[in-house]
Symmetry: C2
C-alpha cells in the first residue's frame, strides 16, 4: 500500500460523510475517559451498514491495514483506541437500526451503534425490561458492551452482557459476515461462536448487530441503603437476603461511606441519603424487583430479620421514586467523586463473594504500609464478587500518588492470585492490562487464546495489541 492510495479507496467505500481525518474530527474517536492512551490513527470511518463494514474490512485485509472497532468510546482499558498509531478506527456509531423487536419471544435485534439507554427504552415501549444498566449507559453501545462483556448493577439477577445476548452478526478479519443472529433459546449446532466473539474486544471480529434478551418488567422496586459494620457483615447479609429473595434480589452493592462524604463535599448530590441514627463506615445498597404476584413489603420483612439478627443497625429505605433516583445517582457517582477529589489508583477485580472481606482487609493493610494515610475506596458489585478497588492520596498529601502505584498494584494482584481472583472483573484487558494478563493468566489459556486469534485473524489486523499479542 502506498501512502496516498488507501484513503482514496476508503473514501470511496464509505463516502465523504463517513470519513474523518482532520484533528478536530478525530478528537471524539481518540480522547478516552481516563486520558491514559495517546496514540493517533490514520483516519476514522463511520460505516452505516454491515455491507459497508464488510467492504472496509476487505480493504483492510487486502492492504494489511489494522482496524480498531469502536462503540461509544467509554472503555476504561484502552480497548477502543489505537495501540500502535497506524490503525483505522471503525466506529459503529452510525449503525443504529432496530431490526426487530419481538415481545412474544422476548428478543430484540439491534445494530451495534444503538446505545444501552436506547435499548432500555425500546424494551420499555414493548412493555419489557432490558436489564443492563451502568454508569455510561447514555453513551455506550450494544456492540461495545458485548465486545467487552460489560457488567453493571443488575448482573446479580440477569447476568453480564454475554448472558443477555442470544446471538451476534459480525464481520471477520477478511470481510466475511458471520450470521449468528438468533432467537433460539437452545441451539446445539457446533462451537459457541457467539460467546467467543462476545468479550473478545473486537480482536476476532466486529460485532455489527445482536439479538438481545428482554424480560418482564418489574411492577415495583424496593430499595434501601443499609448501615453495616464491615464487609464481613455485608457477606452475611447477602447470604440471608439471597436465601429469602432469590431472583428478586437484583442489586447488592457494597459502598464505603467515604464515597458519600466525597459526593457531599463536591456537591454531587443534594442531600445525604444515609440514615444518621447509627453512622457506619460501610453500606449496602440493596434492591428487590417485585413482579406480579409478589407482595409489597418484601424488603421490610428481610430488613426486620437482619436487624433482629444484629447484622444491620440502621437503614435508609426509599419511599419514593425520588428517593430511589437519589440512591442510584449516589451509586453511580462513586467514580466521579474520586475524580473531583484528585488522582487515584484503580483496580477492577473479583473474588468469590465470601473472600471479599479477606481481600479488603489484606489489600487495605498493605496499601497503608506502602503509603500511610492512603484512602481506600473499595466499592461495587458485592453480589457478583466484583470490587472496584480504588485508592486516593492521603488528606493533604502533596507528593505523587502514582509513585506508589506499582507497589500497590503488585501487592493487590499478589493477594488476588492467592484468592484465585480475576485481575479484570468487568472492564476487560484492552491495552492497559495486556502485559498483566501475559504475566497472570494460566499459560495454557494464553496459548489457546493466541492459537484462536491466529486462526481467525491470521494477519493480526483486528484491534492489534489488545488482550493477546500473538
Amino acid at each position: 500500500m502506498t501512502p496516498a492510495q488507501p484513503f482514496d479507496k476508503l473514501l470511496e467505500i464509505v463516502g465523504d460523510a463517513n470519513f474523518h481525518q482532520d484533528d478536530a474530527a478525530m478528537v471524539r474517536f481518540l480522547d478516552e475517559p481516563r486520558d491514559l492512551f495517546h496514540k493517533g490513527a490514520r483516519c476514522a470511518v463511520t460505516p452505516t451498514s454491515v455491507a459497508m463494514v464488510q467492504k472496509v474490512m476487505q480493504f483492510a485485509y487486502q492492504n494489511g491495514v489494522s482496524v480498531v472497532p469502536q462503540g461509544g468510546n467509554t472503555g476504561l482499558v484502552g480497548g477502543q483506541v489505537p495501540a500502535n498509531g497506524n490503525e483505522i478506527i471503525l466506529s459503529l456509531a452510525k449503525m443504529r437500526q432496530v431490526r426487530d423487536i419481538d415481545a412474544s419471544t422476548n428478543v430484540m435485534t439491534l445494530e451495534a451503534g444503538v446505545t444501552v439507554l436506547e435499548a432500555q427504552k425500546h424494551a420499555e415501549e414493548a412493555n419489557r425490561l432490558f436489564p443492563l444498566s451502568l454508569g455510561s449507559e447514555g453513551t455506550c453501545q450494544i456492540g461495545g458492551i458485548l465486545s467487552t462483556n460489560a457488567g453493571g448493577t443488575a448482573v446479580l439477577a440477569y447476568g453480564n452482557s454475554r448472558d443477555l445476548c442470544m446471538g451476534v452478526e459480525a464481520v471477520l478479519a477478511d470481510g466475511r459476515i458471520y450470521n449468528g443472529l438468533s432467537k433460539l433459546r437452545k441451539d446445539n449446532t457446533g462451537y459457541d461462536l457467539k460467546d467467543l466473539l462476545v468479550g473478545a474486544e473486537g480482536t476476532l471480529g466486529i460485532i455489527t448487530a445482536a439479538s438481545m434478551k428482554m424480560f418482564p418488567r418489574p411492577r415495583a422496586f424496593e430499595t434501601a441503603l443499609l448501615n453495616i459494620a464491615s464487609p464481613q457483615v455485608g457477606v452475611d447479609v447477602f447470604e440471608i437476603v439471597r436465601e429469602r429473595s432469590g431472583n428478586r434480589l437484583t442489586s447488592f452493592e457494597l459502598l464505603p461511606t467515604i464515597g458519600i462524604d466525597l459526593q457531599l463535599k463536591h456537591d454531587l448530590i443534594g442531600r445525604d441519603p444515609r440514615s444518621q441514627d447509627t453512622p457506619s463506615n460501610w453500606h449496602i445498597l440493596m434492591e428487590l424487583s417485585l413482579f406480579e404476584g409478589d407482595q409489597d413489603g418484601a424488603l421490610m420483612a428481610v430488613l426486620e430479620e437482619l436487624v433482629e439478627k444484629g447484622l444491620v443497625e440502621d437503614a435508609s429505605v426509599c419511599n419514593s421514586l425520588g428517593d430511589r433516583q437519589l440512591m442510584w445517582l449516589m451509586r453511580e457517582n462513586y467514580s466521579e467523586c474520586q475524580k473531583r477529589e484528585g488522582d487515584s489508583i484503580k483496580h477492577d477485580i473479583s473474588v468469590a463473594i465470601r473472600d471479599i472481606p479477606t481481600l479488603i482487609e489484606e489489600v487495605d493493610a498493605v496499601a497503608e504500609e506502602i503509603l500511610p494515610g492512603i484512602r481506600s475506596v473499595a466499592f461495587g458489585h458485592m453480589g457478583d464478587g466484583n470490587i472496584h478497588y480504588d485508592f486516593l492520596a492521603p488528606e493533604g498529601f502533596e507528593g505523587d500518588l502514582q509513585a506508589s502505584a506499582p507497589a500497590i498494584h503488585a501487592a493487590t494482584y499478589e493477594i488476588l492470585a492467592r484468592l484465585n481472583g480475576s485481575i479484570s472483573a468487568e472492564h476487560g484487558i484492552g491495552q492497559l492490562k495486556a502485559d498483566l494478563l501475559a504475566q497472570k493468566k494460566d499459560p495454557t489459556a494464553l496459548d489457546m487464546m493466541k492459537s484462536i486469534k491466529l486462526a481467525l485473524d491470521p494477519k493480526n489486523i483486528l484491534n492489534p495489541g489488545k488482550i493477546v499479542r500473538p
Copy 2:
C-alpha cells in the same frame, strides 16, 4: 506406531484395572442408546485422575492415535462412540471426586465422572439446588452434559448446562491441562474458553472437572397438567404464565395426548394423570417453584385466569408428592413409550416460541402427505422453543417406516430453515448430524469452527468425525 507397542505403553500408563479390550468389557463403551453406531475401538481406558488423562493424551498425541472421550454413554447422536473404529475410548467414569462444595458461593467443583443425580444429591446435602434434570440423570455425567451442553426440563428458569457452569478443567489434544475452574461470577480476562469447550463434544479438549452453580432450594412446587386445544393455545398460555410468574415458572412442557395413551397401553404408568372432564389432544405440563416469601396458590391463581380467558378448559393439579412424581414419570416416558410402540423417525429441533404452532402445523401436514396415517409425537420444552419431533408408523402399518425418513427429514429441515430454527436444539451433532450440519449451517460459521478445531487440535485426534470434519 507398530501394532503391539501402543497397548503396552497405554497399559503402563493407566494400569490393568483401567485398561479394557476384550469384547465383553467393551460392550458398555460401544453400545449406545439408539443402536445406530457400530464401529469398534482399539481399546478403552478409564483414567482415575487428570494426571492420568494427561498422560493418555500425551501418548495419543505422540503416536497420532485418536481418542473418543466418553461420559455416561447416554448421548443420542453418536458423539461418545467411535466414528472410525481405530480410536481409543477414554471414559471419565472413574473420575468421581467431589473436589469442593462451597454453599456460601453457591459453587461445587466436581470431576467429570460424577453423575447428574449425584450432583443433585450433593447440592441437596448443602441445602442447595442443582437444577439440571433430564431423563438420563442417573447415568449421564458432568463431563458429558457439559460437552454436549445438555438441556432438560428446567432450562426455562436456569438455562442449559452451559449456563450452570462457571469454569472447567480440561486436557487438550497434546496433553496440556487448561486450568479454568472458577468461582468467579465475573471475569473478563480474555476469550471465553469455558464456553468454547462446553458443547464442543470433546473435539477441542477433554473436560475433566467443572465448577457448577448451585441455587436456593425451592420450598415447594406447584404442578399441573393442562388440557388445551392446540399448540397455539399453548403459546398464549405460556405468555400469560411467564408474565405472571417470571422466574418461578421452571417448566413448561408441551405434550400431545397420544404419548399418554401409549404409556397406558404399554403399562408405563399406573394411572391416567389427565383430567377426564373435557379431553383434549394437547397438554401442558407446567411447574412453578416457590421460594421463601412466595405464597402458596400461585398456580391456582394463574389457572383461574387461564380458565376465565377461555384458554384452558380443564386441568389436573398435583395435590401430593406422589401426583407430582407421576407427572414427571409420565413426561420422562415420552421416549420410552415410542420405543415400545415400535420404530420411529426423530428430530430434536428448536424455533422461536411463537413459531412452534406453525412448525407443528406445517411438518404434520407434510408428513401426512408423505405417509398417510403417520402418527406425530411432537413434544417437549415449549418454553425453550425446543420440540422433540417424532413420528410413529400408522396404526397397523406393515411397511418400513424408515423408507419415509429421508423425505420427512428433508421436509422438516426445509420448514425449519424458513423459520430460522435449529437442527439440533439439545442433543448435539455427534456423528448423526455432521453431514446435516455441513449442509445447513452458515458457511462462515462452519469455516470458523474448522479454523478453531485446526488451531486447538492440529492432528485431529480429539473425537474425529464429530461436529466438523476439517
